[in-house]
Amino acid sequence: MVTVNQKELIAKEKANNPSLLKTIWREIRHDKLALVSLVLLLGIIITAYSSPLFIDQEQLQRVNFLETWEKPSETHLLGTDDGGRDVFGQLLLGTRNSFTIGLSVTLIAGLFGLTIGLIAGYFGGFVDNIIMRIIDFLMVLPSLMFIIVFIVIVPDYSVFTFVLMMSAFAWFGKARLIRSKGLAERELDYINASKTLGTPSWKIMVFEMFPNLSSLVIVNMTLTLAVNIGLETSLTFLGFGLPASTPSLGTLIAFATNPDIVQNKWWVWLPASLLILVMMLCINYIGQAVKRASDARQRLA
């Protein structure tokens, strides 16, 4: 029954009702700064993720004592570190690792926070009360210290447990946000209508309530992506993040805990610092454009 005619109809209505993704793209195109940020960020990410094609990771990690602390030159674009390893290569691999980890934490924490927030917001009352008491408590813990303590005492420490630790302390803000919007949505009659139509609770949460909160979730996820990349590199910088064998942007910056390196061997840590700065700013400008796209009153386009 889905004839050509039907397909045409569907296409026409799709054009009249652009998806959020399309609206975001339109908004970014109209904001030069966001467009530049997007191009720059994509450039960095694509270079970083394709780096294994032209960098031999094993060779990169090999210690070469004849070439320690070399200044930037043609053979080593950004010089070498204490083990004679190429800084530029580490920078690319580090960007890739940091971004992957930041993204994983954002997704895991986002999914968990979303689930908890939806449950609290949809059911309200007693369920909401219990969940909020727990979140109130978690919010007052000094999270950075707890993450570090957990990292130190966890057996079989790996990248995976590292991501889990960070996620464990990154979800409650989101849950609270989703919950407060959810409580407002739950009072609206379309939720009541679904209940009277016999739709099960989980379906109402996922297919009715969630789509109405999705723009909020996307905005929040974009902005926290930056925060989580910052968290990973911060922890690695302090020495409680990725193991030395897995370079992160934080690993390179961690060299800067030594005053001599800060002052005289700037090529090791400065490029990584600036790269983080640029990435954070790009993600934020894109995030602001996404935020405007999700709110019809603020759109530039």
């Binding site: 209505e13 609206l188 379309y190 009541n192 209508a193 009277t196 139509l197 999705s214």
Partner: protein, 312 residues
């Protein structure tokens, strides 16, 4: 046997207070309501805002939990059923909501909105589903091409028709209409009301019609129950209530309907004066010492009033 029989329905909300958030008092939103609906009739529930009429409707369909009493639907008590058993009966009761804007999910197109009940209760192929939705959308007076549109592309009256189409999809027996036209323009109200009457015949529906608008109620209802502070004050046919109101509160309500004829306006003003005097002198025969209404007492086989035992 009546289709719906509500017996001594109570919906109380706790008020928490004090240091440990104990329950210190109850809001008696619905406090002992009795009425019956015969198949095919339209029963109007009228009262001022906050009188509990909406809560009554919501308690029948299960959006609010009844704290006491029975809701017998085809002889089965819905009030004490758990969610699973309830679901079997709930497809026979549907609801039309007041606000045509918030009652449709803006993120779904019309096809998905109207097909939602079908997907919950019947397993249909996409093709069958599409045919049924298209038939229904035509039946409620919208073009079948509009099923891929989104709610914001429709006017208030059209949206309410979509809401009605959704409610009709499962061929329900009882429809609870909670102020279905009060959010619409007056010109559109009549259209939707007439349309509701039309489908009542075609689908053999029974309506529980909740409204604060006495004009609308008079236009569409066979029998009427007047509610005040969570209780019934008077119940009867439209004729009984409008021409022969017995309870003080009903009299006041009827007297408050604006009069179009300038000649009669002074009569009406005098009538209101009389009622105000009566309110002061005869208060005790309508309300007990706590200000609560008495139970309904039959006056004629169709007409009952809440007055003190032993007459007026």
């Amino acid at each position: 046997m009546s289709l719906l029989n509500v017996k001594d329905l109570q919906v109380h909300f706790p008020i928490r207070g004090g240091f440990f958030r104990r329950v210190v008092d109850q809001v008696r939103a619905v406090d002992g309501v009795n009425f019956e609906l015969e198949p095919g009739e339209t029963y109007g529930l009228v009262g001022e805002s906050g009188c509990g009429k909406t809560t009554t409707g919501r308690a029948i369909i299960g959006l609010n939990k009844a704290t006491g009493g029975e809701v017998l639907f085809n002889g089965e008590n819905l009030a004490t059923m758990n969610g699973h058993d309830r679901k079997k009966h709930i497809r026979d009761i549907q609801m039309i909501f007041q606000d045509p804007y918030s009652s449709l999910n803006g993120r779904k197109n019309v096809l998905n909105i109207i097909a939602e009940p079908l997907r919950n209760f019947e397993r249909l192929s996409p093709k069958e589903e599409l045919t049924r939705v298209q038939n229904m959308i035509e039946r409620v007076g919208l073009s079948p091409e509009s099923i891929y549109k989104y709610p914001h592309q429709f006017s208030g009256g059209q949206r309410q028709r979509i809401g009605i189409a959704r409610a009709l999809m499962l061929n329900p027996k009882l429809i609870i209409a909670d102020e279905p036209v009060s959010a619409l323009d007056v010109s559109v109200q009549a259209q939707v009301l007439n349309f509701m009457r039309e489908i009542q015949k075609d689908f053999g529906l029974t309506y529980l019609f909740i409204s604060h608008d006495l004009g609308v109620i008079k236009h569409i209802c066979d029998r009427i129950g007047i509610m005040y502070k969570g209780r019934f004050v008077e119940e009867g046919t439209a004729e009984d209530v409008y021409t022969n109101p017995q309870h003080l509160y009903t009299k006041r309500l009827i007297a408050a309907i604006p009069e179009m004829d300038p000649v009669k306006r002074f009569e009406k003003m005098e009538l209101r004066e009389q009622i105000n005097v009566a309110y002061r002198t005869e208060y005790d025969s309508y309300f007990d010492k706590d200000g609560r209404m008495f139970d309904l007492k039959p006056l004629t086989p169709t007409h009952s009033v809440a007055v003190h035992q032993g007459g007026m």
